[in-house]
């Protein structure tokens, strides 16, 4: 008895392969490049444009959410960012924004007030002098940008959790949402757990000098456990809220958690 192995009963394997080869599209280099980011071969394989299709975006968004869930499950949100010594500090510490230094906000100290909104007992606005009187601590930590570059700097200010306690913020709320004086209105949400992290700071000084314009005068929020874009500069207001209000970069597609 002839024993023959059939992939599909009654169909000869070799003929099957021959036939299917004929129907396979010719993956040419030109097609691959023309596809640009569409990954020629994969595109042909799935019969859809991998990049421009909203199904790919949906899939990527889902995986990003999944990544957030995995992180919150396996990581300790209170883990401390590594600290460094004075001589590790990067000089000069880079100015970074989506605009040039010339276009950075020029905030007048006399006119500036920090506005407090949302789920807090005391909604009074704070002048710079009032804020400067709060107890301050220093940290030398590494600022890591979403682009991959990093720099070590020295920041001094009031732990945000102390300030939140002071104003009677509802710390069961989900977010503290910051708004800034940058052109195009920079803003960014911070999850409450990160807002209460011991190293998260309302920063008034860089290298023991009043925060210069380049680094966010009069106030920035330093979050050493997050990527740089979650560290807003030129802050003008904070809102304690349960609503996710989006953010300048978050709305464009950066992962909103972006915890390191």
């Amino acid at each position: 008895m002839a024993k023959r192995s059939f992939l599909i009963p009654g169909v000869d394997k070799r003929l099957l392969i021959k036939d299917s080869l004929k129907t396979m599209p010719d993956v040419t280099r030109r097609r691959f490049i023309a596809g640009g980011a569409s990954l020629g071969a994969l595109t042909l394989l799935t019969g859809c444009d991998v990049i421009d299709s909203s199904s790919a975006d949906t899939m990527l968004a889902k995986i990003s959410k999944f990544n957030d869930a995995v992180q919150s499950f396996i990581f300790n949100p209170d883990a401390l960012a590594p600290t460094f010594s004075e001589h590790d500090i990067t000089k000069p510490f880079p100015f970074n924004a989506y605009y040039d230094l010339d276009d950075a906000p020029e905030v007048s100290a006399a006119d500036w007030k920090l506005e407090v909104r949302g789920l807090v007992d005391n909604k009074k606005s704070w002048t710079l002098d009032e804020l400067y009187k709060l107890p301050q601590v220093s940290q030398i930590t590494r600022h890591i940008c979403v682009e991959g570059w990093s720099a070590i700097g020295s920041w001094t200010g009031t732990p945000l959790r102390d300030f939140l306690k002071l104003i009677g913020a509802d710390t069961r709320a989900k977010y503290v949402w910051f708004q800034c004086a940058d052109k195009d209105g920079y803003n960014s949400p911070l999850d409450m757990r990160s807002a209460l992290h011991p190293q998260t700071q309302m920063t008034f000084k860089y290298a023991n000098e009043i925060l210069p314009r380049a680094y966010g005068f009069p106030m920035k929020i330093r979050v050493p456990t997050k990527l740089g874009f979650k560290n807003p500069k030129y802050v003008v207001s904070m809102e304690v809220t349960n609503d996710y209000k989006g953010g300048y970069w978050e709305d464009q597609g950066y992962n909103s958690f972006s915890g390191s």
Partner: protein, 209 residues
């Protein structure tokens, strides 16, 4: 071995020796897809803040912009890591690594490199890897482990601080990650070139025989 025509004769079928078992083939091609996704999205991320005086051409990057590149990179990483881990575990558990890749001797590698460069390297028995193959495959497995470790350290430098310390500091981990990618690209070129020179090895990686 089946004949294309059905005859009344009895055909004794002696199946060809399986050179690449199914698990190796599946994981090999899964890894190929994962690697390409990771490399192209990685180039997109690199371009946002180049380490050296060059950027990768836009048309060879994935994601359209930095944010998209990051989404691809942190999605494809699961495919790379899960498949890679399964491959390592299976490779050790089945003894395949030991049988196929060891021993690797310097003299053997030198001899086979010389033979390869003069096109005198035999491939009569595809189930036995020559010393060039052994060195390349063992080397690229190590690079694969290194690129994942440095990548994880860069992704979570606070949570996985010990991993960053393994490389010295954050910028060093970044350089390690880059050079591992460069090594993988170089391997890819050589690997594909050699596979095309010995088409039956490519066939073995597709259909197993």
């Amino acid at each position: 071995m089946s004949s294309l025509t059905v005859t009344d004769e009895q055909v004794s079928a002696t199946p060809a020796k399986v050179i690449q078992p199914a698990w190796v083939r599946i994981m090999h091609w899964t890894n190929a897809v994962a690697m390409i996704l990771m490399i192209l999205s990685g180039w997109q991320i690199y371009n946002a803040s180049p380490l050296f005086g060059f950027s990768f051409p836009r048309e060879y990057t994935l994601g359209g912009w930095l944010g998209g590149g990051l989404l691809w990179h942190f999605a494809a990483m699961w495919l790379l890591m899960i498949n890679g881990l399964a491959y390592l575990v299976t490779g050790f558990a089945t003894g395949r690594f030991r049988k196929k890749l060891l021993p690797i001797t310097a003299s053997g590698v030198l001899h086979d490199v010389r033979a390869a460069l003069t096109f005198k390297l035999g491939h009569d028995d595809l189930s036995v890897y020559n010393y060039v193959q052994r060195a390349l495959y063992a080397g690229i497995i190590l690079v694969g482990v290194l690129i994942v470790l440095s990548g994880l350290g860069m992704w979570k430098p606070v949570q996985l601080h010990w991993l960053v310390m393994l490389f010295g500091d954050y910028p060093t981990a970044r350089y390690v990650h880059f050079f591992c990618m460069a090594a993988i690209c170089a391997f890819l070129v050589i690997h594909v070139l050699l596979a095309l020179l010995v088409p039956k090895s490519l066939r073995a990686m597709i259909i197993g025989r």
